[in-house]
């Protein structure tokens, strides 16, 4: 039995980006907020000391910052007819754990989704015809639009100190930025990072070919920055221990470097770490969330009643909590009814490797979001008529730092071990670069999340089951955008190129992307979405579920900027709309 605690105004599940932002906004509005986090309290000074953080074995190989699969994992299969098996070591993606969440070990790439994305289905039907979207895709509008999203993107970037160069301001187009972005109300808070050789070479070539390269928007700040919460970040030093690592230099934005140092000082806020939430409790009719039940590190169970419940964990846990708490109707691919678990989507990661003889890229210099990119082949920035697919990818060179265990690029045909392999790694280490194409992944009726019927976690709860494979649409798209990327690569005149378009079936072993989205999506229609445009659960007005779980599909961009914007959007809706009429759906 759970011990019942005194009630609070709001409880927030998860203290990563979304949870920390919402908690801070609600506390500033005068609410008493309890944040509950399944992992440890993380802190730059204590956990990410520069003298010990540069440890590839500990962080990249042994995945210290990631959720322990013994605590909680997922099961996976490609199709509904298969039996799913549990993932016992993270491969395809890297769920985080502890305060800051996956925002501690992210790369820092901070795109805004384009205006068309928020009404993707309508946009494609308008441009290519009402019947143009194939049945294998369940694309949807988000129920919101650019004008509603823009102020919250702006708020997130100002908290994160995001560096970059505007391509489109409301006042007009700017040189040097991304011409395809939506009009921004203000420029980036900090100027673009400096570039290393590989991105510079790529950008020069892309420009010669008529494309429009721009600095990748990056929440690794380029100069000392103090955000509106009073928290200060230091400039990125290109140390090369970035993606998969916590930042020792206070340069990579995360909840722990930008929000929590200020939030934890506020009297109305309390963080409970090492506390794993078991369920969202509801009243007998299921019309009102009454709080949460969680288990602490000693195995004791606690019930925390709250007037408002905000679930802001990682995509997987958001959806699993909704399934185990019987919120909404579980999605059934046979009937295509139900919304909880619907429209799970991923990212289609492609790349082209370039082996040179005469270049030295100093690849150990880098950061997760240092780089140059083009968007000429992303999303609907090019004409898809007659191509047989929709979507596209963000094409870019982002040298994240070539650490000694993992960064051993060798051309095809090189032995996998022995003296010839060693020689090849020496020959190619400094003279190899890669162009990535982080491409869209469009949702499909057969890709969904559900509770696994067989496997359970240590607390006896069913694991979350992923049923996912790349669609024909996405595989054709991958071939197309990778060929376009390879054209640029050939123009750069390396000795050899190796193009790696994503091919099916989805393989859970090699790392591809942690951008898992959907499963509890936002929209205007309760028949096809779980939350409204304020991230408020249809039919449970005092429950808000926030994160990439709300994306109806995934464009060719990294999700974090949009997760941050949605967190500000939900917080704004709670403070300025919901609290005026609590207990009701926001009109």
């Amino acid at each position: 039995m759970a011990t019942k605690l005194p009630p609070t105004d709001a409880v927030v599940v998860g203290l990563g980006w979304a949870g920390a932002i919402i908690a801070n906004q609600l506390v500033d509005a005068g609410l008493k907020v309890v944040g509950v986090e399944r992992g440890p309290w993380r802190d730059t000074a204590k956990d990410f000391n520069i003298a010990s953080v540069t440890d590839e074995l500990r962080y990249a190989q042994r995945q210290e910052l990631m959720l322990r699969t013994a605590q909680n994992t997922i099961t996976m299969r490609n199709t509904p007819s298969q039996t799913a098996l549990p993932m016992r070591q993270w491969g395809s993606f890297h769920p985080g754990n502890g305060t800051g969440g996956a925002g501690n070990h992210w790369a820092g790439i901070t795109f805004r989704f384009q205006p068309e994305e928020f009404r993707l289905r309508s946009h494609l039907e308008e441009r290519y015809g009402a019947d143009s979207i194939p049945d294998e895709l369940s694309l949807q509008d988000w129920g919101t639009d650019w004008d509603e999203m823009e102020p919250f993107y702006d708020a997130f970037e100002k908290v994160a100190g995001t560096s970059g160069r505007a391509g489109q301001l409301t006042s007009g187009q700017q040189d040097g930025g991304n011409p395809f972005e939506g009009a921004r109300s203000s420029d980036y808070p900090t100027p673009p990072l400096r570039q290393t050789y590989a991105p510079t070479l790529f950008a020069d070539t892309a420009r010669e070919m008529g494309y429009t390269p721009f600095p990748v928007p990056s929440s690794l700040v380029s100069e000392t920055y103090t955000n509106p919460l009073g928290v200060t970040m230091g400039p990125c030093t290109f140390c090369g221990f970035c993606t998969n690592y916590g930042c020792a230099n206070y340069s990579k934005a995360s909840a722990i470097t930008t929000v929590l140092p200020a939030l934890i000082r506020k009297e109305n806020f309390e963080a409970r770490t090492h506390c794993e939430v078991l369920e969202v409790t509801t009243d007998s009719g299921g019309r009102r969330a009454t709080g949460i039940v969680y288990v602490d590190s000693a195995g004791r169970r606690w019930e925390q009643p709250a007037e408002i419940v905000i679930v802001a964990a990682f995509t997987f846990e958001n959806v699993r909590l909704m399934l185990t708490s019987n919120i909404g109707e579980a999605y059934d691919p046979a009937t295509r009814r139900g919304t909880t678990g619907r429209n799970y989507a991923y990212q289609t990661a492609n790349n082209v490797q370039l082996f040179f003889d005469d270049k030295n890229f100093n690849p150990f210099i880098g950061g997760g979001a240092v780089g140059m990119g083009i968007d000429d082949f992303n999303n609907d920035n090019f004409d898809h008529a007659g191509l047989g697919f929709f979507g596209g990818g963000s094409t870019r060179v982002t040298p994240i730092g070539a650490a000694p265990i993992n960064a051993r690029p060798t051309p095809p045909g090189t032995p996998r071990w022995g003296s010839n392999w060693k020689r090849a790694t020496v020959d190619n280490y400094a003279s190899t670069m890669s162009i990535g194409c982080e491409a869209s992944n469009y949702s499909s009726p057969n890709n969904y999340l559900s509770l696994d019927p067989t496997y359970r976690d240590r607390l006896g709860r069913p694991l979350l089951r992923i049923t996912f494979d790349f669609t024909e649409n996405d595989l054709r798209m991958a071939q197309y955008v990778t060929e376009k990327t390879a054209e640029i690569a050939r123009r750069m005149n390396p000795r050899q190129i190796v193009a790696n378009p994503r091919t099916g079936p989805w393989d859970g072993r090699p790392y591809q992307s942690s951008h898992v989205v959907g499963g509890f999506v936002m929209g205007a229609d309760p028949g096809t979405s779980s939350v409204n445009k304020y991230l408020q659960v249809w039919g449970v007005p005092n429950l808000f579920v926030v994160g990439a779980s709300a994306f109806p599909q995934n464009p060719g961009y990294n999700p974090t900027g949009t997760v941050g914007a949605l967190a500000f959007k939900a917080a704004d809706a709670i403070v300025n709309r919901y609290l005026r009429n609590p207990g009701e759906m926001i009109a």
Binding site: A45, N49, A51, T226, G230, T232, G234, A248, N249, P261
Partner: protein, 408 residues
């Protein structure tokens, strides 16, 4: 008439010791307690303010700050104002026992009567906490409180604060705050062999394994390079471009100076930077020449600096304002005493976090991967680069601090 006289007579002795219950007096007293930083020693748990229990390591042994809540059995509940005033100004507790000067009565004796009275009024309003503190943990013979009689004779003059008519009201206010309530000299003035303030005033001193730096207007080893704004910023927010408050000073900012009024902080800054309280002959000295670039320690240290330090402190020692202190022209690096410098390189340091500066960026610990020679060399390099000049640091100094830290 008779009745009235009797009434008046009855009131008189009462008014002599009863604490004010007026809000403005109590609130003023609360601010006096902040200025005096009573909490630094008397508060262990923020939920039980002033209930005592903070151990103070002195060269003579350990003292534990007593409970000063109005609890009758274990606090000051049986004290009256005269008892309290005697403790503050004469170092004598209720019943006549002698306090040890870890309680800075040699500074508080300068307090104005009204401030003592209001502070007393405030202390009556603090929640009484039953917490029996055995304050005196000193070894014999220091445990015998009578020894303080002789100490007071030699080290304590019991004078009250006298404003200097030559100086502005603001400087005099600063003097009062620094000399009396702020008791800055308790840490920043060297002590003589008896633990009394001796040596050059404000010229810096060791305290609890840290170095409380020189706060004279000397530009090379003191705070003469700091602007008034920078000194106020440091006291108010816990950091400025040269330093973040760490060690005992972090507690001071946390409990005390971040809550001071801006007027009081500026008064302190003007007083300290004017040099009004110190004898120019004691601090106005020419800086030494830096060690040559080809000095073996400087050269070895420069390599370590560029590998291990320059990522944050930048290659030219400029630092990053608000997050990584500048090392160039930083007087804190030039002091003869290297306790704090060696300590923060070996053990790292987490400075104070304030609402104004919540980041509290940490200096990482290098004890596990820099040898005594490495630490000595890198400190010798930064102490002799970019406008700094100071004697070389020896590996044996580092070894001593390493031993101290391991025993902590």
């Amino acid at each position: 008439m008779k009745t009235l006289t009797g009434f008046a007579l009855a009131l008189l002795p009462l008014s002599a010791w009863a604490a004010s219950t007026e809000f403005q007096d109590i609130e003023r007293g609360r601010y006096i307690s902040v200025l005096g930083d009573c909490a630094a020693c008397h508060t262990v748990d923020d939920d039980q303010p002033l209930a005592g229990g903070v151990p103070l390591e002195t060269p003579f042994g350990t003292l534990i700050a007593p409970n000063i809540t109005p609890d009758a059995a274990t606090g000051l509940g049986r004290w009256n104002f005269e008892d309290f005033k005697a403790a503050m100004t004469e170092g004598v507790g209720r019943g006549g026992y002698h306090l040890y000067p870890a309680m800075p009565y040699p500074s508080y004796t300068l307090m104005e009567e009204r401030d003592i009275r209001d502070l007393w009024a405030y202390l009556q309003t603090v929640t009484p906490v039953e917490n029996d503190v055995d304050a005196n943990q000193l070894p014999f013979p220091f445990s015998v409180r009578q020894v303080m009689l002789g100490w007071n004779l030699l080290n304590f003059d019991g004078r009250r604060f006298e404003p200097d008519p030559e100086q502005s009201d603001e400087i005099n206010r600063g003097a009062y705050l620094v000399e009396s309530l702020g008791h800055c000299g308790t840490c920043h003035t060297p002590r003589n062999f008896m633990g009394g303030e001796g040596g050059d005033k404000f010229s810096g001193a060791s305290i609890e394994g840290w170095y409380a730096p020189n706060i004279t207007p000397n530009r090379h080893v003191g705070i003469g390079n700091w602007s008034e704004e920078e000194l106020v910023e440091y006291l108010q927010t816990g950091g400025n471009r040269y330093a973040f408050a760490s060690g005992p000073m972090a507690d001071e900012v946390h409990h005390s100076s971040q809550h001071w009024t801006e007027d009081d902080l500026y008064a302190v800054a003007r007083y300290l930077l004017s040099g009004a309280g110190v004898d120019a002959a004691d601090w106005d000295r020419e800086p030494p020449e830096p060690l040559a670039e080809d000095n073996a320690q400087v050269r070895a240290g420069s390599h370590i600096y560029f590998d291990r330090c320059s990522g944050c402190h930048t290659p030219n020692g400029g630092g990053e304002p608000g997050i990584f202190p500048q090392l160039a022209s930083n007087a804190l690096l030039n002091s003869a005493n290297t306790d704090s410098l060696i300590r923060v390189v070996l053990a790292g340091s987490r400075p104070v976090a304030t609402d104004a500066k919540p980041t509290a960026p940490a200096m990482p610990a290098f004890a596990w991967n820099l040898s005594d020679d490495d630490v000595a060399n890198v400190l010798t390099f930064v102490r002799n680069s970019w406008g700094n000049a100071a004697p070389a640091v020896s590996a044996s100094e580092v070894a001593d601090m390493r031993e101290t830290l391991e025993s902590e």
